[in-house]
């Protein structure tokens, strides 16, 4: 005989003591919540995927129509300052800077900020580019630690190096904002590789819309497994380690689907730290990057959006569904765990710092959809989902749930997850198809399937740890063990 609590889950009623009944009700009720939460989240992501599909198609059609390169040779296009904070980069900084100087854009400058490196980073730069110390004066419009010197080279007029006391990435970026001279700036990590035409693509939305566009971002991909020569990705390939391939599929989901859709709905709040293009005047008004948070990149966007809403100015934060940046993703479980932990902590910090946006009418869509979305789905999500993974088998074990039903419920959720992952691979194949070999396509699909059987759960666990750590109030970065491009692994 079956009876259900919310009319949905069958349970075998037997003669039990009242407290046992109560316990059963609680556990099963919670299972219901979790189950529907998971389905809801997956459905939201699925809707995102559909949005992303249409956005990407529109984008591709418009991109092919315009010979962007020729257009952007025009002098009428706004010049861009590239800010590149560097800390203990060693000799690899020279090649990164060279590739930044070679970008296809009519007018740009590269501002390297040496954040008080303890190694020879500055020396490598000065030697390689023949730089000299300059007399400088520039306003400190945003706060940063003292600048020790400014270096330029007559042979490379597009390059300046700012040498300053150590203050962290946000602080270094602020110094860069002060030293830069163009109305737009973008931030690039020293180990990130930009595509040659990256600037062309990310600046276009700023020109293309009638509304003000203070921030744009682009797709970031994993460079692991690609052949990198002289700071440029020459050929794309898949890495060997499963951990790296998992991340590639994840990035496809997050960037191609997630960000694109959020951008279409104009609720995009997160521009990843590896790359973002900003309108400098607006960034200055909100005080540049905040040095008191781990998620400084996310926070800047939130600050800008807040400011514009408060000023009642129309704006759009846009994401260009075009690959602009390649970065090396962590290759060990430890480093990856630390990175995700840090990202998650950063998110909570930002959410807490700006908690007055929540459901505040001044902030429009950001207030009633954007921020709550990040809180309930991205931030708190792991707690709910993980508890589901624990309680569902528990319920089955206690005989509260027919094991077969429990199993089938789980399978539904899992298969839905697989569909999502596979759709993002499909979206990639339909749009940019950067992986030319059949073997790679099949591998990607394979990993899209199996990522739902352990990897996703693992990321949830790391995010949960991030939540706990944030509650405990930690504020450090973990050291990221990095492998240089084309050089043996070196510990940071």
């Amino acid at each position: 005989m079956t009876a259900t609590i919310f009319g949905l889950l069958p349970l075998l009623v037997a003669d039990e003591a009242p407290i046992h009944l109560l316990l059963r009700k609680i556990i099963l009720g919670f299972n219901d919540v979790v189950f529907f939460y998971v389905i809801f989240v997956d459905a939201v992501y699925f809707v995102f995927t559909l949005f992303a599909l249409s956005e990407v198609r529109t984008y591709l059609r418009s991109r092919d129509k315009e010979r962007l390169e020729q257009i952007f040779r025009s002098r009428l296009v706004p010049p861009i300052s590239i800010l590149c904070p560097a800390y203990n980069e060693g000799a690899t900084i020279v090649e990164s800077v060279r590739s930044l100087l070679r970008l296809k854009y009519s007018k740009h400058e590269v501002v390297v900020i040496n954040d008080g490196s303890k190694d020879d980073t500055l020396k490598y730069l000065v030697d390689a580019f023949g730089m000299e110390r300059l007399e400088f004066t520039f306003e400190n419009s945003v706060k940063s630690k003292p600048v020790r010197g400014l270096y330029a080279s007559p042979r490379y007029p597009k390059l300046i190096v700012v040498d300053k006391e150590n203050g962290g990435k946000a602080d270094a970026l602020n110094a860069g904002i002060n030293a830069s001279r163009y109305p737009l700036f973008c931030t690039v990590d020293a180990d990130a590789l930009l595509e040659e035409d990256a600037l062309l693509h990310v600046v276009k939305p700023m020109l293309d819309r009638t509304k003000f566009v203070p921030v744009t971002g682009g797709i970031i991909r994993a460079a692991n497994g690609c052949r990198v020569v002289k700071g440029r990705v020459e050929s794309v390939g898949l890495p060997r380690k499963p951990i790296e391939i998992f991340q590639i599929v994840e990035y496809m989901r997050a960037f191609l689907c997630g960000r694109t859709a959020q951008s279409a709905l104009n609720v995009m709040l997160i521009v990843s730290g590896a790359f973002g293009l900003f309108h400098k005047a607006t960034a200055k008004i909100v005080g540049g990057y905040s040095t008191d948070t781990v998620g400084e990149d996310k926070e800047l966007v939130v600050k800008i959006v807040r400011y514009l809403k408060e000023q009642k100015r129309e704006y759009e934060v846009l994401f260009v569904p075009q690959t602009v940046c390649w970065t090396e993703v962590p290759a060990t479980w430890q480093t990856l765990g630390r990175q995700r932990n840090r990202w998650h902590r950063g998110m909570f910090e930002v959410l807490l710092k700006h908690k007055d946006i929540f459901f505040n009418r001044t902030y429009g869509r950001v207030g009633w959809f954007g921020m709550p979305y990040f809180l309930f789905i991205e931030a708190l999500g792991p707690i709910v989902e993980l508890s589901g993974y624990i309680l569902l088998p528990l319920a089955a074990l206690l005989g509260l749930l027919a094991p077969l039903n429990a199993f089938l419920y789980t399978m539904c959720a899992v298969v839905f997850g697989i569909i999502l992952s596979v759709s993002s691979v499909l979206l990639e194949e339909a749009s940019f198809h950067r992986y030319p070999r059949w073997k790679e396509l099949l591998t990607l699909n394979f990993y899209a399937v199996i990522e739902n059987f352990g990897y996703r759960q693992l990321t949830l666990w790391w995010r949960l740890r991030g939540t706990i750590d944030w509650i405990r109030g930690q504020k450090q970065w973990g050291a990221q063990q990095r492998q240089g491009f084309g050089s043996p692994a070196k510990a940071a």
């Binding site: 040779r73 025009s74 070679r102 009519s106 040659e196 002289k230 440029r232």
Partner: protein, 131 residues
């Protein structure tokens, strides 16, 4: 063509990352009576030049790995290749960059879109000056 004439054909190295332009320039310069070696980026161009010093180098400006200016500078700083004339193929918007960067040692430049016939004429004149 006799063996002597073959050996006396001027040698030209061409570098451009666009395969269409590369092929066209190769065909044009070959028709002008030269032996052509092609390279698809700056590094390769430098390597080809060092393999056997040519009579002329034609460089695109924006190339991956090493752009045209870097190659020209590298050629000028090496005594073995200092005397080799360098021609730039540049896009319309970059003309004044090339003019400013003439201290990287170019003898001539052509702007895209270019006329293959004109390229032939210029190549012939540069080679004639060499002799």
């Amino acid at each position: 063509m006799s063996m002597e004439e073959q050996e006396n054909r001027p040698r030209v190295v061409i570098a451009d990352d666009d395969p269409d332009i590369r092929r066209l320039v190769e065909m044009t310069v070959t028709n002008a009576g030269c032996d052509v070696t092609v390279a698809s980026d700056g590094e390769e161009a430098l390597a080809r030049v060092r393999d056997s010093v040519p009579d002329l180098v034609i460089l695109d400006v924006l190339m991956p790995r090493m752009d045209g200016w870097e190659v020209a500078r590298a050629l000028k700083s090496d005594p073995a290749t200092r005397e080799v004339p360098v021609m730039f193929l540049t896009s319309r918007g970059q003309e004044h960059d090339v003019l400013e960067g003439f201290d990287s040692g170019a003898v001539d430049y052509m702007v895209k879109p270019f006329s293959p016939r004109e390229l032939q004429v210029r190549v012939r004149s540069v080679l004639a000056k060499r002799q």
